[in-house]
Symmetry: C2
Subunit: 344 residues, 2 copies
DNA sequence: CTGTTAGCGCATTCAA
DNA sequence: TTGAATGCGCTAACAG
């Protein structure tokens, strides 16, 4: 049905009075076509509104020119803007994208996606799902059998994977050291879900800074949230219940920080005088929170772009029959200081 | 290169001791295969980790089973969560997606995308870019020549297009009527960019409500923002400069409302006592603004899902050689009342 | 510089 | 219920 009325390379060849081969050469911008033939063919192409069939081309070439991306919904700022970076860089490098979004890492769903990717003969796979640590056992198995280059975004490295990651640990440390420098004495943390690598790393960074400052016995300073504002609200209450001495909190993302700001208000705690708060992400709204939020900025778009660039290299190598060593590319976050953490 | 080592239907057929035809039948779940042959073939398929080549299949079938989606970046909550709805419904209906993101409607870029879509033989195109009104002249031309079903999301209907839209005008009216009911006397508006259909419609809704309440001479109550927080901040200042009597503002999205909240604070205006504020979108953060923001909730995921469902119908019809009448499917927004607009 | 031949991997006839 | 032949639209390899 869809082929009905469809112009093919043969039609173009016939009208232009050349062979399909010559048309193919023109289509692919090859040099071995005379100037006049080329222009004649091009005229016919546009007059017929001909567009080459990608399936036929890929089938014939044995290449798909496509990247498979497994992404996490668009619920949170970080993961979704990583996708923007991926899309635009892929576009720039001439790759097509096959994007699958998942809410959580569920074996059967991932199975279907990988199967679909294989069917589409993707030349590389980018795993852009925030890593549920517990999931990586079977996930690694699944991908091991796939001969396709694979890059993870924001996953802990075990030395045998290609990874592009933000240095979340450094981010946590920057945030916490800043609070210490501001003279806060007892600094709690509201982390993300403990299954997330990002959450773990930010926690580790916090811990490093805290312990370096000579504090110990810190377990009671930690509480776990779920990235959403309500859990920041609840989290701050819980934290202060446990330890009323707390005078600052590193909240592991800006959305939870927003919830924490509200909790502080409802408790009558002045920010930053009575309580210092630092978030993570620097979402566009953060500068307009009340008070404006000090936070750790990550260039998520760049993270995605870098992953694609690396993938491009891996694919080239793969075509040459080479294999490149696994490597983790690190991106550094940056502290953005605003009022929520700076005492007058 | 990529074909190297690739298992094809022939390999499966040979190992299973049947013809490629039979394998094909098994792959497509056709009934005319004996139970034992089927299971034998299936065993071979999985033992060989065979996966059918999508390009060959599509080429042979003359169908792509793919939808082309032109979307707007992931900068704003609305447009990006529409994409989530599209993705998940397309997935559910068995469509593949080809997604292209654009920042603004630029002829040459759209040209490339449409060309790419045609090459991929997409069976339907969803235009999910917030409509820059001025762009639709040439856009309509471009798509007119494409025989592919086309659905716009959130565009004004001219009676000849398939459209899925949120009733933004109703949303603007709901917001404004609510403020009137709360006893606010002079209600300004911070709109989105005037080139956006959504912005226009929300403005129209506001105007209808204002005028129905007997107000006239309203031009000085209108100011244009750009959807981002800073423009809400600047906008509120400008509005109050022009007319200090203003005691309420309908801000056309939540991000600008956030900026307006900050402006109000810096001016020492109590919310909601001195100034009532209503936003639009109900982003996840809105309930945690200070004070919590009254806003108009739109089910953007559903918007995307409905567009895909409609597209499915259009495609079916298209295959039958039928053409369905253009129609606009409307979704209704809902007012969410919080503290920013409710006087004690 | 251009054309001919062959085949990519699968599904759709038609026979058997 | 199964198989053989043919073609989808394009490009690669080879000739000329």
């Amino acid at each position: 049905m869809l082929t009905k009325n469809k112009i093919t390379i043969k039609d173009v060849a016939r009208v232009a009075g050349v062979s399909t081969q010559t048309v193919s050469r023109v289509l692919n911008n090859r040099s071995d076509v005379s100037v006049e033939t080329r222009s004649r063919v091009q005229k016919v192409i546009s007059s017929l509104s001909y567009s080459p069939n990608v399936f036929a081309r890929n089938l014939s070439r044995g290449r798909s020119n496509t990247l498979g991306v497994i992404g996490y919904g668009l619920f949170f700022y970080g993961p979704s803007s990583v996708l923007t970076g991926i899309e635009s860089k892929a576009n720039e490098l001439g790759f097509s994208l096959t994007l699958s979004l998942i809410d959580r890492v569920e074996p059967s769903k991932v199975d279907r996606i990988v199967y679909d990717f294989l069917s589409r003969r993707v030349e590389g796979i980018i795993w852009a799902v925030p890593s549920d640590i517990t999931a990586f056992d079977w996930l690694a198995d699944k991908f091991a059998r796939v001969q396709t280059p694979l890059i993870y975004i924001n996953k802990g490295s075990n030395g045998s994977d290609h990874v592009t990651a933000l240095d979340n640990r450094l981010g946590g440390r920057l945030a916490t050291e800043h609070l210490l420098q501001q003279g806060y004495q007892r600094i709690g943390i509201i982390t993300g879900p403990s299954t997330w690598w990002e959450a773990q790393e930010r926690l580790n960074g916090w811990q490093e800074a805290i312990e370096a400052a000579g504090y110990s016995n810190i377990d009671s300073l930690i509480i776990e949230g779920d990235w959403n504002p309500p859990s920041g609200d609840v989290g701050l209450h819980a934290l202060l219940d446990r330890d009323p001495e707390i005078d600052a909190v590193f909240v592991s993302n800006d959305q939870m920080a927003l919830g924490a700001l509200q909790a502080a208000r409802s408790l009558g705690l002045n920010i930053p005088e009575k309580l210092g708060i630092v978030g993570f992400d620097d979402i566009p709204e953060a500068a307009y929170f009340y008070p404006p939020l000090t936070t750790v900025r990550q260039d998520t778009r760049k993270l995605g772009a870098i992953a694609v660039e690396r993938m491009n290299v891996l694919i080239e190598a793969h075509h040459e029959g080479e294999t490149l060593d696994p490597e983790t590319l690190w991106l550094e976050p940056r502290l953005i200081v605003r009022k929520s953490s700076v005492r007058k």
